[in-house]
Amino acid sequence: MALPITYDSARKLISVDSEVSYPELQDEVTQLNKLAKDLISIQGEIPESAEPSNKITPLLKNLITSGIDALRKKQFKDAIQKLTVAIEMQQKRANWESFGVQLTELNGILQARCDAYIMNKQFIEAYNDADILLSTQVNTPDNFLRKAIASLNLGRLEDAKVNLERGLCFHENDKRLIDHLNVVNRAIDLENGDA
């Protein structure tokens, strides 16, 4: 039985036959091609360890610091732009570079960008960033607060309540979470006409 995969030796790429549709297979093949391309494109030796590349790290660091600076100066649009570029650049890291390092790096950028979105009142974007942060198991009170504030401002009171309560499960005495939960509960009562 012939596999629905063909290898193009000239371009050194694998492709899935267009007739069959396996979205998961397509995903994996794309990943594999990227990894192969990354490995081919290094001119020198194949790296022995998963150390992050020296070229990108300082550039990224510069971008992140300037993004956070902009955030401090309340230039939110500028901050968002810089951080978004940082995320894009971070995505360009080669596939073999340590995933753990990449993830913490990404989380750091996302947290900053999420704050920038919130301050710029782009709550849907902020919600998405906070959602990614929480789904990668970074259960810090800040992240719960980020998501709750975003959903509160989007009018999703129940969602905000659930996130604050979840945050309080892990950080029982976090003052900010408790305060926000009170605000949300009051808003829910108001919405129900119970206040």
Partner: protein, 656 residues
């Protein structure tokens, strides 16, 4: 051995035979349907507390469909067959009672005791004397002045008496009697068939044969096959295996980055086999992978267009499919899909498309365009407005319609959480490795009632549960004792549905479902009838209880475990209950160790021997002859030191 068959020439036995078979089938079935008529009916009756009359709202189309689908409890096929069964039984009983039973004595029946007119177990001496008396009475030589026939009969009797006597006294005859039941040795065996002869040996025997062939060769395999096919192709939850596979496949391929929407669930549902099978044959082909036909029907339904019979049938299958999907998605621990599946079901039941105003739109006589403009989204907020304001908010035209709308709106139950905690029956705390459940106390209120702060004022005493032995045996009894929920107000859904709630536990750590959800059908809605005053003064006030079993034993390690519980109505758009519950696993308080002053058993007793095997202390017997000198010395020494302590115990301790 000779044997022959005797047929039921006199039509005596076969009616009894058939009566027996018939009654085995008919009587239990009759009892079952009587039970169903008497008891199940009362459960589903429309007069349950908190039910909403929807008869004015139902369109004629739906009404027709419901009455077609509804099986009458009394006039149905099963009861008709039962009736025929009973007619047969009565006619058979009549026949049996009128048939005279011919009493031909069976020549094979030989009872020596009866013949000799003595009691069983009489000793040989008495037998002999009795026999002598009888021989005198029946001896052929003694018979005079009798007709020939009588003479013959008496002679036969005499022979039998002699045989009987021999059977009890003579060695060989006795052996024959004991072995074969007759003094003359083996007799002909008779086998009776409870069928009239004409059926078997007459012209109709091929007919009987044909019946046998049809019964065993065709009908039986047909039923077995049908039954097997059904059990094979449907899952426990009643959905088609192909549909279940499809759901599993969809869940496996589901990417966490994708957002699940109601449309996603609709698409999954539309691919399911049982819905496709309901399409008329012109539109259904086995290879037809596309599900546009069914999506089209969903669309028509949500656009409030009139549906054909088969289309309504397709819609009526949705709850079962969604229950199946919920079961599968919760096994995958997928919170998002489970949530959206439940929402989808609600949208079907109320025939509404996704909108944040659905709490208002589920009411009758509502103008969608007017509701669109208001910024009220909650039912309870709406009902706190004045009647005129409600009228203008919902776009209701007449006062009659408003009264109708309000009467329905105020009966939609809203739940408020009072208290939720993990409980281990018989314990005040949650102990490690025990069977726990979550006990949830809720306040059932009408949207009309004010009550967010009120929840905190409810006295503890209302929340106390019975701690009796009965409760320990079955902690869920308190839930099941609550009345069954009424029928859902769902005038546009093709079939009637009993209201229910779904409850599930989510692990806070990863945000995934902990266990399969439970469906709850018991809750007391009588609070809905209370006025605000009665409500606040706790008059006739009822607290609702939910209990969610926690299927794994509680963790072995002490500490706090965080969970979140969601309770959703499967019928109405109302705020869900969604709250955190923390399981605090603690060690049970240790009992104070009481030292019982039980003396150690003596060395030479059985208890002592056992204690020695266990390595416990025993009382040594001070046998002067066997005790060592060392021992003596030591004890002497100790005795010198402390005279009060002449207990042999110390001696043992020092030894060990």
């Amino acid at each position: 051995m000779n044997s022959r068959y005797s047929y039921d020439e006199n039509n005596e036995t076969w009616p009894v035979f058939i009566l027996a078979i018939l009654s085995v089938a008919v009587i239990p079935l009759t009892l079952q349907s009587i039970y169903e008529i008497l008891f199940i009916k009362s459960k589903n009756s429309t007069t349950t507390i908190g039910s909403i009359d929807e008869s004015n709202q139902i369109s004629s189309n739906i009404k027709k469909f419901r009455s077609k689908n509804k099986k009458s409890k009394i006039f149905n096929k099963k009861n008709f067959i039962l009736l025929i069964g009973w007619l047969f039984i009565t006619s058979l009983i009549f026949k049996i009672s009128t048939t005279e039973i011919s009493s031909i004595p069976n020549p094979n029946n030989f009872d020596p005791y009866e013949l000799l007119e003595i009691e069983y177990g009489t000793n040989e001496k008495d037998i002999k004397s009795h026999y002598k008396k009888l021989t005198i009475k029946y001896h052929p030589d003694k018979i005079r002045n009798k007709s020939d026939e009588e003479k013959k009969e008496l002679e036969e009797r005499f022979v039998l008496i002699t045989k009987a006597y021999k059977a009890l006294t003579d060695e060989i005859t006795r052996e024959n009697y004991e072995k074969y039941g007759h003094p003359d040795g083996p007799q002909q065996t008779l086998h009776g068939i409870a069928l009239p002869k004409f059926l078997i040996e007459g012209k109709s025997s091929p007919f009987l044969l044909a019946i046998y062939i049809i019964l065993i060769g065709l009908i039986l395999p047909y039923f077995v096959n049908n039954w097997w096919k059904r059990t094979k192709s449907f899952t426990k939850k009643g959905i088609h295996n192909d549909s279940a596979n499809l759901f599993v496949e969809n869940l496996l391929n589901y990417k966490p980055s994708e957002i699940v929407k109601i449309e996603t669930i609709l698409k999954w549902l539309s691919q399911s086999k049982e819905l496709k099978e309901l399409l008329p044959s012109s539109k259904f082909t086995e290879e037809n992978e596309s599900n546009d036909e069914i999506l089209e029907i969903f669309n028509k339904f949500f656009q409030k267009l009139e549906l054909k019979h088969y289309e309504l049938q397709i819609i009526s299958k949705i709850p079962i499919l969604i229950y199946g999907l919920i079961d599968i998605s919760s096994s995958f621990r997928n919170t998002e899909i489970t949530n959206v599946a439940i929402e989808t079901l609600k949208h079907f039941i109320q025939r509404l498309t996704p909108s944040i105003k659905n709490e208002l739109l589920q009411l009758p006589n509502v103008d969608v365009d007017v509701v669109d403009k208001t910024n009220i989204i909650r039912l309870s907020k709406l009902l706190k407005l004045s009647n005129d304001e409600i009228k203008s908010t919902l776009g209701i035209k007449s006062d009659d319609e408003l009264i109708q709308t309000l009467s329905i709106a105020k009966k939609i139950p809203i739940l408020k959480l009072i208290k939720a905690e993990f409980k281990v029956p018989g314990e005040k705390i949650v102990t490690p490795n025990s069977n726990a459940h979550i006990s949830i106390k809720v306040l059932v209120k009408s949207p009309l009632h004010k009550g967010s702060n009120f929840v905190k004022k409810i006295p503890e005493i209302f929340l106390k549960e019975d701690e009796s032995f009965e409760y320990l045996k079955d902690p869920f009894k308190i839930v099941n004792e609550q009345p069954i929920l009424p029928k859902t107000y769902a005038p546009y859904f093709p079939v009637e549905k009993i209201s229910n709630y779904i409850a599930y536990i989510i692990v806070q750590k990863d945000g995934k479902i902990a266990d399969n959800p439970i469906f709850v059908q018991n809750l007391d809605l009588s609070n809905l009838e209370l006025s605000q005053n009665q409500f606040e003064n706790l008059e006739n006030f009822k607290i609702g209880t939910f209990k969610i079993p926690f299927n794994q034993p509680t963790p072995n390690e002490l500490g706090k475990y965080q969970f979140r519980v969601i309770i959703k109505s499967l019928d109405y758009f109302v705020p869900d209950l969604d709250f955190p519950v923390i399981m605090n696993v603690e060690n049970p308080a240790k009992l104070e160790e009481i030292e019982y002053d039980i003396p150690d058993p003596d060395e030479d007793s059985i208890a002592g021997a056992l204690a020695q095997l266990r390595g416990d202390k025993v009382n040594r017997i001070d046998d002067d002859y066997e005790s060592d000198n060392d021992d003596d010395d030591e004890s002497d020494l100790e005795d010198d030191e402390d005279f009060s302590d002449i207990n042999t115990d110390t001696e043992d301790e020092s030894e060990e």
